[in-house]
Amino acid sequence: MEFDPTAYAFLAAGLGAGLVTIGASYGIGRLAGPAMEGSARQPEAAGDIRTSMIIAAALIEGVALFGLVICVLLATS
């Protein structure tokens, strides 16, 4: 069986996208769970918790998107 070398790039892109998703979902899960718990325990702080949660989630997402951009570059090059 012959392999086209670009197949490895596609494989890497697919695996990379999966790994990035695992990392980002773990990070956002770790973030959202305690945030929800916190706002349930102290509903008057829900607004502040939500704001700081969204900021932190956006930062995690930013890193994940860096990874995804690299995956897209691998898949389209």
Partner: protein, 419 residues
């Protein structure tokens, strides 16, 4: 008491039943539309058979407006050219096809230059020229001023924001909303958004300086919001799924942050944290500068990747039908159409949510970054307090001198973020 209480309950129950019926009706209507869609899409798939669909090309910027299945409108191309003698000329064409047919430009298809006229007209007929490169026949292109799809939709978003902003401002100038209650759906809806941005985004992050930066934050929010929403309109495109647009927005945030930066910000950036030894400061200064640049770079990438990824996911889900058609035949394509259209509807709704969330996230992060560079740390006051405290103790411990202000600084930063 029981009789009094039972009537509203029954009423409420009846109301629920009516709502339930209405929901069921709309669900049936949705199902009908989706089934019709399932029948329509495979015919499209068959029409496109033989040609490859360039998903990234459709998501990325292009020099045409797509009104499939009716028409594809090509946009004007404008180039600043330099010929062999070094003189500059501005050349403009009505469309990409016109630029190619004039003979000034050659088409580069799959890395090969198309030379014969018949090949060129075949490429134009199959619209391949819209996804291929252009190469000048003589001279070189200095700048490409061509009007692109994202430019059109970016300008459209700008126009919408300007119209809304100006008409709202005129209402408030007349006194509607200031001396009396805001009037009408339009003003009420936008007042809610604007007040939210002022009270929940600008005030907590920028403190008493928020009024200075509120115009920029509001403009950025509404521009991004409408640019994102235009991407969800049929035949539309999201200008924010272009890295140049989001990059420029991030540059605005960066420039505003640096122009209005406080003295402490520059000291902190170029000389390092004052309580840290010099040798560590040498390491910290490049890290601080890189951190500042990366923050804004990530701001651009985040918005771009979110908007581009949404379009890519929708294309990929619809592309599933085409893949099934090619690999397993038409039956599998009909089967794949139902789940993939359901998923497409779902992702479209997620995109609607993301359009708002990304506008909010960009605005709040911009406000945070501006706030970080603008705020006066109140750091020196604490430092002086600590210094007095230390001299009072008559033990000017070196270790304490380094550690205590650091703690003070962290706590003030927390207060600033929390307040």
């Amino acid at each position: 008491m029981g009789r009094d209480g039972s009537a509203p309950i029954r009423n409420h129950g009846y109301c629920m039943y009516e709502r339930h019926l209405a929901m069921r009706k709309s669900l049936y209507a949705l199902l009908l539309v989706l089934t019709l869609g399932a029948f329509w899409v495979p015919t499209q798939a068959q029409a496109a058979e033989g040609g490859t669909v360039d998903i990234v090309g459709h998501t990325a910027d292009g020099f045409y407006l797509e009104f499939e299945p009716m028409a594809t409108v090509e946009l004007p191309r404008i180039f600043l050219m330099e010929d062999a003698s070094g003189s500059l000329t501005l050349k403009s064409y009505a469309s990409t096809a016109a630029a190619l047919q004039s003979g000034d430009f050659q088409l580069v298809l799959d890395g090969e230059t198309v030379t014969s006229d018949s090949d060129l007209s075949a490429a134009i007929d199959s619209k391949k020229h819209l996804h291929a490169g252009l190469q000048p026949a003589v001279g070189s292109v200095i700048l490409d001023f061509s009007i692109s799809r994202h430019l059109i939709f970016g300008l459209l978003a700008m126009l919408i924001v300007a119209l809304i902003g100006i008409s709202l401002a005129r209402k408030y100038k007349r006194g509607v909303g200031r001396e009396e209650a805001p009037h009408g759906v339009f003003q009420n809806a936008f007042e809610a958004l604007i007040v939210y941005i002022r009270d929940e985004i600008a005030k907590p992050t920028l403190g008493e300086k928020h009024e200075k930066f509120l115009p920029y934050l509001l403009t950025a929010f509404f521009f991004i919001l409408f640019a994102n929403l235009l991407g969800l309109v049929p035949y539309g495109a999201a200008a924010t799924s272009n890295l140049a647009v989001t990059g420029m927005l991030a540059v605005f945030t960066f420039v505003i942050g640096q122009v209005y930066a406080s003295k402490e910000h520059w000291k902190h950036l170029l000389l390092g944290p004052p309580e840290v030894p010099v040798l560590i400061r040498i390491i910290l200064v490049p890290v601080e500068i890189l951190g500042l640049l990366t923050r804004h770079f990530a701001l651009a990438i985040r918005l771009f990747a979110n908007m581009a990824a949404g379009a890519l996911v929708i294309f990929s889900l619809l592309g599933l039908i085409f893949i099934m058609n090619v690999t397993f035949g038409a039956g599998a394509a009909y089967g794949a159409a139902v789940p993939s259209i359901f998923l497409t509807v779902f992702i479209s709704l997620v995109k609607l949510l993301v359009a708002f969330i990304q506008a909010y996230v960009f605005t709040i992060l911009s406000a945070l970054f501006i706030g970080m560079s603008v705020e006066e740390h109140h750091h020196d006051e604490h430092h002086e307090d600590d210094a007095h405290h230390d001299t009072g103790d008559l033990t000017p411990a070196l270790a304490g001198d380094g550690a205590a202000p650091e703690k003070a600084r962290v706590s003030t930063e927390r207060e600033v973020v929390a307040s």
